[in-house]
C-alpha cells in the first residue's frame, strides 16, 4: 500500500476497533438478557423491574448501533443498506415489542418472551456482523 492510503487507513482501523468493542458489548448484553430470562422462567418469576431495565438497555444499545452505523455507513462500505438497516430496525422492533409484551404478562412467561427475543437478537447481531464485514 502506498503512503496516502496508510494515512486514510488510520481512521477506519480506529473506527473498526470501536465497532468491534461495541459488537462485543451487544453480544454480552443480549446473552445476559437471554440467560437471565431463561433462569427467571425456570424459577417461575414474572419479569421484574431489573429484567425489564436490562431489555431497555439492550434497546438503547441497538438504537446507538443504528445511529453509529448511519453516521459511518457512507463511504466505508459497499454493503446493501436495505439489508443492513433492515436487520437493525427489525432487531429494535423485536426488543421493543417483547419488552411491552413481557411487562403485560405477570407470570413466568413474561421472562419467557424476553428469552425468545434475546436469543433472536443474538442471531441478528451475528448476521449484522457478517454483513458489515
Amino acid at each position: 500500500m502506498s503512503a496516502p492510503v496508510t494515512v486514510l487507513d488510520e481512521q477506519p482501523t480506529k473506527l473498526g476497533r470501536v465497532f468491534t468493542v461495541f459488537t462485543i458489548v451487544l453480544y454480552a448484553v443480549s446473552a445476559v438478557l437471554a440467560i437471565w430470562s431463561i433462569v427467571e422462567t425456570i424459577r417461575n418469576r414474572p419479569a421484574g423491574t431489573l429484567l425489564l431495565g436490562a431489555s431497555a438497555l439492550l434497546l438503547l444499545l441497538l438504537i446507538v448501533q443504528l445511529v453509529l452505523s448511519i453516521a459511518t455507513f457512507g463511504s466505508t462500505h459497499d454493503v446493501d443498506p436495505l439489508l443492513y438497516f433492515g436487520y437493525v430496525i427489525t432487531a429494535i422492533l423485536v426488543i421493543a415489542l417483547a419488552g411491552f409484551w413481557a411487562f403485560a404478562e405477570l407470570s413466568r412467561w413474561g421472562p419467557g418472551v424476553l428469552a425468545a427475543a434475546g436469543l433472536t437478537v443474538i442471531v441478528m447481531i451475528e448476521r449484522l456482523d457478517q454483513i458489515w464485514q
Partner: protein, 162 residues
C-alpha cells in the same frame, strides 16, 4: 403494578397474575390464547412474522429473478406467520379457528417445501424460511406449528369443559 419486585414479592405477584388471568378469561375465554405460555408462543410467532416479512421483502425487492419459486414461498410463509400472530393476539372464537388453520397450513408448507428443496434443488438455489425443513432457522419452523396446534387445542378443550 406495585407488586413488581425481583425478590420477596414474587409469590404475591404470581397470585395476582393468576387473578389477572382469571379476570381476562371472564372477559373472553379465547383471550387465553395469548396469555401464560401462549404469550411466549405469540411472541415467537411475532418474531417470525417480523423477520420473515423483512427477509421476504428484501428478497423480492432486490433479487426476485434469482430464485422466483423460493422467494414466492418466502412471501407466502411471511403472510401465514402474520395471520397466525394476529389471530393469536385477537383471541376470540373465530381467530382460534383461523390460528388452527394457519398452523396446519404452516406445517404442511414446511413438509412440502422441505421435500421439494431436496427433490428440486434447482428451484431452491437461494434459501426460503421453509426449505430443508427450516434448518436455516434451527428447525423452529417445523416445531412451531406443532406447539401451536397443541396449545390451541388445549385452550379449546379448557373452554369446552369450563
Amino acid at each position: 403494578m406495585n407488586k413488581r419486585h425481583d425478590g420477596g414479592g414474587a409469590r404475591s405477584a404470581a397470585a395476582s397474575a393468576k387473578k389477572d388471568r382469571a379476570a381476562k378469561r371472564n372477559q373472553s375465554p379465547f383471550s387465553a390464547m395469548h396469555t401464560g405460555p401462549g404469550r411466549a408462543l405469540t411472541a415467537v410467532y411475532g418474531v417470525f412474522a417480523l423477520s420473515a416479512t423483512a427477509r421476504a421483502g428484501y428478497q423480492v425487492i432486490r433479487e426476485f429473478d434469482v430464485a422466483p419459486v423460493a422467494y414466492s414461498l418466502s412471501v407466502i410463509a411471511a403472510v401465514i406467520y402474520i395471520v397466525a400472530t394476529i389471530s393469536l393476539v385477537i383471541g376470540n372464537r373465530i381467530s382460534h379457528r383461523i390460528a388452527i388453520a394457519s398452523c396446519l397450513i404452516e406445517f404442511a408448507g414446511v413438509i412440502v417445501v422441505g421435500v421439494l428443496s431436496f427433490t428440486h434443488p434447482e428451484d431452491f438455489a437461494k434459501p426460503s424460511v421453509w426449505s430443508s425443513f427450516g434448518s436455516g432457522y434451527g428447525f423452529i419452523p417445523l416445531i412451531l406449528p406443532l406447539i401451536g396446534l397443541w396449545w390451541l387445542s388445549l385452550v379449546g378443550r379448557r373452554i369446552r369443559t369450563a
